[in-house]
């Protein structure tokens, strides 16, 4: 694993067996995160982004079967496959909270109402850094001050219900950062907050990142937030990444029909355009018993009959650091992939036809 990378996800698949069939919310996710980078994972509900980031920390539900590799570049121990670890074992528990932390969408329910905020923040410090309660308390209060919680000493002893939404999110960030992790996974951290508070929290996250070279995996469906926060963006649809690249490129020149559709579905504030918004027809299908085909096939304006419904495109590099998974895009790499897929289908078709002939004989 390249030393500039901090996280590498290879062919991640999550399957949930159900009585009606197998649900496959994540169907082969590949991406990387460099040190100090903010990577965005963008998609709508049902695309599998939450399950992907939960798989990194091994906190998926028992029912989920997780396959693939998630390689974490440990500062002292080198590359480790997080999925190879026992989800309840000591090894991954030493990583959770210390090397890789996570913050969640609803700060109101992320804290236990029975313990003070300080107690819960110190819990992380006590687990990973020190066994001394006083030292943990000092570390926590120092981090609280850094994060911008006023009257940190007083707030340390208060309960979650005494905090507002924005404050609680700051407290959650404190709890995540108190052990100075290398990666922060943020699962829709500002969706439940007011827009002015959201702006404060996003700025805070950027500031925290500056001093520590920490990588942030930012999951959201809000294209505005992604533009503000992320250096690189991965667009997910139906369990796969359909486009990946630097934020500026993705916004200026989206290649994949889904990304393109999404960009045009949102009204850009500050522009006077009042025409009809572009809307992608149909809805996200259920990820159950899917056959081999492009996940976006049914809703795509550029679909190629006979190809896109028979084969699933892979991510190919269309420009330095810009990858797209689509047969229909107009560039060299995609065209090459398309030709290869068409040839393979033709061969399969011929094989099938010759088998038929053999049977008739």
């Amino acid at each position: 694993m390249d030393d500039s990378l901090i996280l590498q996800i290879k062919d991640l698949r999550v399957e949930i067996p159900m009585p009606e069939g197998t649900l496959t919310p994540v169907r082969g996710v590949n991406f990387e995160m460099r040190k100090g980078e903010t990577v965005g994972l963008v998609g709508e509900s049902g695309c599998g982004k939450s399950l992907t980031c939960k798989a990194v920390l091994g906190i998926n539900d028992k029912k989920c079967k997780v396959y693939g590799e998630i390689n974490y570049n440990h500062p002292t121990d080198g590359a480790q496959n997080l999925l190879a670890m026992n989800p309840r074992g000591k090894q991954i528990r030493s990583i959770r909270g210390k090397e890789i932390s996570m913050i969640f969408q609803e700060p109101m329910v992320a804290f236990s109402p029975l313990y003070t905020i300080g107690n819960q923040i110190s819990e992380a410090a006590l687990l990973h850094i020190t066994k001394n309660r006083q030292e943990a308390k000092e570390l926590s209060i120092a981090m609280m001050k850094k994060v911008g919680i006023a009257n940190a000493e007083k707030r340390y002893n208060q309960y979650p219900h005494e905090f507002s939404g924005g404050m609680l999110q700051r407290a959650m960030i404190t709890m995540a950062l108190v052990c100075h992790p290398k990666i922060l996974i943020a699962d829709e951290p500002t969706t439940a907050l007011d827009v002015t508070i959201q702006a404060q929290i996003l700025e805070l996250m950027k500031e925290m990142q500056k001093d520590s070279d920490m990588g942030i995996l930012f999951i959201t469906h809000d294209l505005g937030v992604v533009a503000r926060m992320c250096d690189r963006v991965n667009v997910m649809y139906l369990g796969k990444i359909v486009e990946s690249g630097p934020a500026a490129t993705i916004y200026a020149d989206p290649e994949h029909p889904y990304t393109n559709g999404l960009m045009h579905s949102v009204h850009k504030i500050g522009s006077r355009k009042k025409e009809r918004l572009f809307s992608i027809e149909g809805t996200v299908p259920l990820a159950m018993n899917l056959k081999t085909a492009c996940g976006f096939y049914e809703r795509c304006d550029h679909r190629i009959e006979g190809l896109c419904d028979q084969a699933d495109p892979e991510l190919v590099e269309v420009a330095p650091d810009h990858k797209v998974a689509c047969f229909a895009c107009d560039n060299e790499a995609c065209r090459a992939m398309r030709a290869k897929a068409e040839a393979m289908l033709k061969a399969q078709g011929q094989q099938g036809a010759s088998k038929e002939e053999k049977r008739h004989e």
């Binding site: 939404g165 959201q198 702006a199 533009a227 559709g261 500050g270 522009s271 918004l277």
Partner: protein
């Protein structure tokens, strides 16, 4: 009442009292709505926009104020003071679409029955069952629902489709005003676009007037003719969309506009920082509610509540320093 207005809200107040604590959810709100317009009402949590909408339809009983409505025959009535019988007749004219597509439909009724219910409640004696069913089918296809699925229960439908069912239910009685209470907030981006387009098409076809309550400024800018900004129960600014977004007159509006993340990584945002947090609505600050967080606060702001005045034609604002401040909005190219 203004000749072109279809709805005029005058000094509306709503207070919630419980155990000696009074929360002023809506304080002294006034504005005009012309027929066929879309008025956007924006604000953050605790601003009272949802309460305002519910007071207008009389789902909540307003504490004070008037809501003047011009009926189809041109009569002017105070919606809040009509008697029960008149109320029943007028209910059909103002309908509401709710935010949560999951709790706004009774899970135990078929979709057909859900959309038919307002007809049954109002036209039981004048319409036959067959006529009602026909009306339901026609409205359902107008909003884009597959009419063969009407016998299904809500759990069979996705969020966007449920929202369409809610829209059909609101429109089946031919209302004139529809209050969209965060009608697209709970939907995915691509579905939001579908529903927003649908609302615009329906407005054109049925000559509807919308009161669009939302916290999403991008959507509001897209769909509204006029926008009202609320803060802690008061209307702090009310203006045509272009004017509000390009030349805001209230510091809160300025801060709000600068905080919205733009889906364009090349745009440099110079955010106006707001100190502190939204105050407790049960204990609002003295004077201007916003003064503790305002960068332009002066002495007068701390003691006197600013008057809601028409600073420019059609552009209302409640700020002592509106005339002198040069606030930053979006540059419309």
């Amino acid at each position: 009442m203004n000749k072109e207005s279809i709805l005029e809200v005058k000094k509306l107040h709503k207070r919630f009292t419980s155990k000696n604590i009074t929360v002023k959810a809506v304080t002294d709100v006034s504005f005009n709505v012309s027929e066929g317009e879309t008025i956007g009402i924006v604000g953050e949590s605790g601003c009272g926009k949802t309460t305002l909408g519910r007071c207008i339809v009389r789902a909540y009983q307003a504490s004070e104020g008037e809501v003047w409505y011009r009926t189809r025959d041109g009569k002017e009535l105070d919606f809040l003071k009509v008697d029960k019988k008149q109320m029943k007749a007028l209910r059909k004219d103002i309908q509401m679409i709710f935010q949560d597509p999951y709790s706004s439909l009774d899970p135990r009724m078929t979709v057909l029955d859900i959309i038919k219910e307002p007809l049954v409640a109002n036209y039981k004696k004048t319409m036959s069952d067959k006529e009602m069913n026909e009306k339901v089918i026609s409205i359902a296809s107008k909003v884009g629902l597959n009419t063969t699925y009407l016998k299904r229960y809500p759990h069979a439908f996705s969020g966007g489709q449920r929202q369409r069912i809610g829209i059909a239910r609101a429109l089946v009685v031919d209302p004139r005003i529809v209050i969209c209470d965060e009608a697209v907030s709970a939907l995915d981006v691509s579905v939001q676009a579908q529903v927003i387009n649908l609302l615009r098409d329906l407005q054109k076809e049925f000559h509807l007037t919308y009161l669009f309550i939302s916290h999403d400024l991008s959507v509001v800018e897209h769909i509204s003719n006029k926008v009202g900004v609320m803060y802690l129960g008061r209307m702090v600014e009310y203006a045509p969309t272009d004017a509000l977004f390009s030349k805001p007159l209230h510091p809160y509006t300025e801060a709000l506009l600068s905080a919205v993340p733009v889906p364009d990584p090349t745009v440099q945002i110079d955010r106006i920082p707001l100190k502190g947090e939204i105050p407790n609505p049960a204990n609002p600050p003295l004077g201007c509610y916003f003064h503790e967080r305002c960068s332009y606060c002066c002495e007068k702001c701390c003691s006197e509540v600013p008057a809601y005045i028409e600073a420019e034609p059609g552009h209302f604002v409640a700020c002592h320093r509106a005339a002198e401040l040069k606030l930053r909005g979006f540059e419309y190219k």
